[in-house]
Subunit: 175 residues, 2 copies
């Protein structure tokens, strides 16, 4: 099957649940036989639970990780920007191939926030979306122009977070 109509969804805000909401969409879509690509920006640091689970859902689900191990070097973004720019070109190629019903650009808003990708490039990506492909963009601080270009925008707001109570990131829950 394929979608009749593809929209643009944005999950942003400082709360937990942006990437996981996108992963949940991926799970539901795979259940319906849709083809899904989860394309992760600035997430080169190791394999998380979602990568291991994706193997169980192949070939319908593909996860691609890009970025350096560790986090963005905010003092000198040269290398991170280079990697993100190459990743963006690859994402655009995969998106426009029309091979995927659901295409998730995870943390692309973060990549824009760090200056690794220009907001005009994200708008270009959005406008290159095949009509029947659902495009999902995640990451905090979504640019207003991206929000304007989206059909659905949800903000995840942190009301209470256990990190502040000293609970560390846990394997299987946060990663």
């Amino acid at each position: 099957m394929s979608l009749e109509q593809g929209c643009v969804q944005v999950y942003t805000g400082n709360g937990k649940g942006k990437t996981t909401a996108a992963l949940g969409l991926a799970l539901r879509a795979v259940g319906r036989g849709l083809k899904v690509c989860v394309f992760q920006f600035i997430k080169g640091g190791g394999r998380y639970g979602e990568h291991l689970a994706a193997e169980k859902l192949a070939p319908l689900m593909t996860i691609i990780q890009t970025g350096r191990p560790g986090w963005v070097n905010t003092k000198d973004i040269t290398e991170d920007r280079h990697i993100a720019q190459e990743a963006l070109a690859r994402a655009e190629e995969l998106l426009t191939s029309g091979l995927y019903d659901l295409f998730i650009c995870d943390e692309i808003n973060g990549a824009v926030g760090y200056g690794l990708i220009d907001v005009e490039q994200v708008l270009g990506l959005i406008s290159s979306k095949p009509e029947k492909t659902e495009l999902v963009l995640t990451g905090r601080n979504a640019h207003q122009l991206v929000i304007d270009a989206a059909d659905l925008v949800t903000e995840m707001t942190e009301i209470k977070h256990y990190y502040k109570a000293g609970v560390p990131a846990r394997t299987g829950i946060e990663m």
Copy 2:
């Protein structure tokens, strides 16, 4: 593997992404070999994409649907309350069995909001949680006492929604 420490998470608010965030958590946990139960309240109406996908992730992932087909009869909640009360007893039995590392009570906040489950019963469920089990509660209008009892609370706020632009619920995305 199992979790060292299980917390209580709440996903609430009027925005899209509460159930899907819980499903994404389930996917990540399954990737790590954790055992997951997604227990759905007031969602008896047909099989969604997540139910079909869960089969691919069995035996680590189990989804249980409860509730009448259709939506809650708000004019006379007698039957819905009876079903929800039976469901709650079953959920508590499964939760306290300790068989699951991640236990998701999907739409339990909605069941409270409709008067099908009392908030004191949800607090009882929370306090019966095994130490190493992660408990996730979803649904809009989470009760303040539930928020107080949780370790992590995220509110999903609708900034823009395509339903208002006339896009219908789509198989593989919304269901």
